[in-house]
Symmetry: C2
Subunit: 531 residues, 2 copies
């Protein structure tokens, strides 16, 4: 018997097995799975009444909120396509994305309408503008989400025939260069990613999951489906802020959260009294991804808070999980530092994910050889393609393998270690320099809060590494001090030839440092030759 | 991107991520995943050299052994179809099954050839007879497994294009009546069942799994794929025997095993000194299925050994898992007895498994109503159908729902409770009597080792319950004593009207009591009217 895989199955299971369990804790809102399921039905019925049919796009612009989860589960019930928008973008971006994606309905959280109002007249396909608010705020030009929902039927809408390989989510990547591209993820992509999440994070019915990560980002890494399927509870933090974070962790007895390394760092740097620290739950798993976590970050979370850090790796294009980095049983007795180095590696493949690390000529790099190659993958989590950009799809999916653009080492234990984005790798006198390696060292210096290393042009070596550093509040360090620090620990050719200090690093909406912006200051008028 | 789901993916992952981990402990044989993977390659190359092509059937008749696991993983690599045979059957059965299934190759474990020799001449399709032995035993009419394997290439055979919906396993059900039927399970069936197993048993890379359950039985409940995918270790016990069982649990630090209730009972009744008991590992999960576990069995394993019992439910036709029975978080503070009663229920659906409990008229029974209906399911774990018996398939898969033939109650927490096989339900004066409920009570009597309750004809009530009881060694109990015991705890109409004593209950090869055999003694010359 073949039943199409569908993310709604995760909620369906929770509704049968855990209907009275707390599904949602979001500010003052508390919903059981039964109540949440009813709101999801209402969502689907509302969209139907607005004329949304299978394949139509519904966009949502919101900070983390139970309403985003409602859209995550209403969508696969209806067969529509969800476009979760990045609230850190600017109106021009929304103009492009909403028109390119052809959204029919746009749901915007109260407080974010200023991002849409300036370009509202330019939106050619949006027929309905809905304002999501806790206050039933009536605005003349916006329909009210809660009023519409309460007028919609609580019954499940009539079943729609949905192929598992149809698109369910359309996610525009932040893209450090060029226009954003719309990643099409299918029901099958999202289902299998969620199952892999359950397997690797060991998600179970007693889990209390804290949504710290922006939910728009690849449907919140898909963990929302996984936690729901196992009957866990979702605790939602609107926008990450350390005080609220620790407060919720403690009061809701959180057991699991996902945080990019920068967010863990913010938590570590938060000043906390001994009593608050004492009260923190210890049995917490932290999934981390988005960039390579510095050793000190993993160590800090594990030693200061007693939490377990599990690094995973993926891209929006891969739903997102490809690899996981765990200590293996035979490593249990290794020295702590060695174990941390393993945890800091990118990881080994999840079930059903084929990974290769290949040279430009397409040869697999040898394990432990120190050779760097591009990570390519063949898996059911790889996207269907880029929305209305078949040529962009063909550029990254070649002969059945998706090319990640990430450059990595491979070891004989099966761990890959991403050393750089293909375009961020610094090639100096024929030697590869991983900007991540140099940054990792700079992060170890006590005065350094953040660091970015990029290639700068050099007459003799072609490229050389330059560093841009943000110091910790109140800390001081001269360029020469940091340079000496690097020389002490790194091969000479890897040491930054210049170190600039800056107040804030430019970042994309998902928290990635915009190295292209940093590079510009050094490359003006020059041409970068990268393979 | 769509990549066909395939059980070999679980081994592929272990080979990349856990190549040096112990994969197999089987008697004196210890293999890492790398070594095991090489033997699987050799297996596939051997079968190719014997002319086995995609879709061809390879049968294996063996007690539990690493060679059975080799067949489990070699099969999906080759696209052939595996027929694991039940070694508790008789030669006539093998004659029927091997000819009906059309096996091309037959692998038989040394010591079991006497089951094949008498019917060997009748096997019309078997071209190659292979003897699996640790001793390189040369027998004139049998090829030697180990010699053939060592002559075969260790390299992975050329890839075969395999659709995930093609049959991978052909499993003949023991069937309490009529000829066995060949259940066709696809790659997708087995893959999704294995993923659900990981989710519900929380299987992880530190697990050491003891194969106590006969591996032929629905590919060992599919847990072999799940444990492999997560990089756990397989400890194999050839044939369940309490002394060896406890010895392996302790020496290999086993963390997880699957055992039907009768097997748990055998373990509980095994006489063990205090020191041995003390040395047993406590952190052990026991998956149990096959029949409803008596409360005393669950309680015994949890209290005496400190193990955690997780009941699951399924049929060969459903790959096999449909439901799982766990204590939910809000039940944690319930009294022990109440929690045991929950654990003894059949369970709530796994992810992606739709379950309904329906009356003969097709109406869903109301939760907590006490109404009994048939369990039907719609899920990706449901078989493709019965091999060469389309009419038998059509009789059980109706309008997209598989009819299990199991009768159950449904409660408002989403647990179903199978009260009987449809054909075992006793209908007395219009009242449904669950033979399982009455048996469960009899099991609580200190003198009772085993009990079976079946319908007997009655002029007044149509049917009445009769019990057949096996007493514990050395124990005595008169019929009247047991009857009084029943009357004390059960509604009068449910009490057995007659209790027979017997030395051994007739069982199918998978350990199920053959109620049809027991009923015969009461129904000779009479007609049973069952809906």
């Amino acid at each position: 018997m073949i039943v199409p895989l569908n993310e709604y199955d995760f909620l369906k299971r929770a509704l049968v097995a855990h209907s009275n369990r707390d599904a949602i804790v979001c500010g003052d809102v508390r919903l059981t799975y039964r109540q949440f399921g009813e709101r999801v039905n209402r969502w689907a019925n509302l969209m139907r009444s607005l004329g949304v049919q299978k394949g139509d796009r519904v966009a949502i612009l919101s900070q983390n909120c139970h309403r985003v989860l409602e859209a995550f589960f209403g969508t696969p019930l209806l067969g529509s396509i969800l476009m979760p928008l990045n609230f850190r973008l600017v109106p021009d971006d929304f103009d492009y994305i909403l028109n390119h994606g052809g959204a029919k309905v746009l749901v915007v959280e109260e407080g974010l309408t200023h991002l849409i109002d300036p370009i509202r007249d330019k939106l050619e396909t949006v027929e309905h503008f809905i304002l999501a608010s806790d206050l039933n705020a009536s605005e003349e030009t916006w329909l009210d989400y809660e009023s519409l929902l309460s007028e919609s039927s609580v019954e499940q809408p009539p079943p729609v025939e949905i192929d598992e390989n149809e698109t369910s989510a359309l996610l525009y990547t932040s893209g450090t260069t060029g226009r954003p591209k719309g990643v099409m993820l299918t029901h099958r992509n999202l289902y299998i990613n969620a199952m892999n999440s359950i397997c690797e994070f060991g998600i179970h019915e007693r889990d209390v999951y804290l949504h710290t990560l922006a939910q728009f980002h690849c449907n919140g890494w898909g963990v929302g489906y996984a936690v729901t399927g196992m009957g866990g509870t979702h605790v939602i933090i609107k926008k990450f802020e350390p005080a609220a974070f620790f407060d919720l962790i403690t009061h809701e007895r959180v057991t699991f959260a996902c945080m990019p390394p920068t967010m863990i760092n913010m938590a570590l740097n938060y000043l906390m009294d001994a009593e608050t620290l004492e009260r923190l739950p210890r049995d917490v798993r932290i999934g981390t991804a988005g960039s390579a976590p510095p050793l000190a970050t993993i160590q800090g979370a594990q030693e200061k808070f007693g939490w377990k850090v599990i690094q995973i790796y993926g891209l929006t294009e891969t739903s997102p999980f490809m690899t996981v980095s765990k200590i293996k049983p035979h490593m249990d007795n290794w020295p702590d530092e060695q174990k941390l180095r393993v945890q800091a590696k990118t990881g080994y493949p999840m079930i059903g994910v084929d990974i290769r690390v290949v040279t430009d000529e397409g040869h697999d790099v040898k394990p432990d050889s120190g050779d760097v190659g591009e990570v390519i993958t063949r898996a059911n989590v790889v996207m269907k393609g880029y929305w209305r950009q078949p040529e962009a799809t063909d550029a990254v999916i070649v002969d059945g393998w998706f090319h990640t653009g990430d450059m990595a080492l491979l070891d004989s234990e099966g761990y890959i270690e991403v050393v750089d984005r293909k375009k961020d790798l610094i090639i100096s006198g024929g030697e590869n320099i991983s900007s991540i390696e140099v940054e990792g060292l700079l992060y170890k210096h006590p005065a350094v809060l953040e660091a970015a290393v990029v290639a700068a042009p050099d007459e003799r070596w072609g490229e050389v590494p330059y560093a841009i550093v943000v110091l910790k509040p109140g800390a001081t360090a001269a360029e020469s001090e940091l340079t000496d620090f690097c020389r002490e620990h790194l091969a000479h050719y890897k040491c930054p030839k210049r170190i600039d200090f800056i107040d804030v690093l430019p970042r994309t909406a998902t928290g990635k440092i915009q190295k292209n912006v940093l590079r510009e200051r050094f490359w003006k008028g020059k041409t970068k030759h990268v393979g």
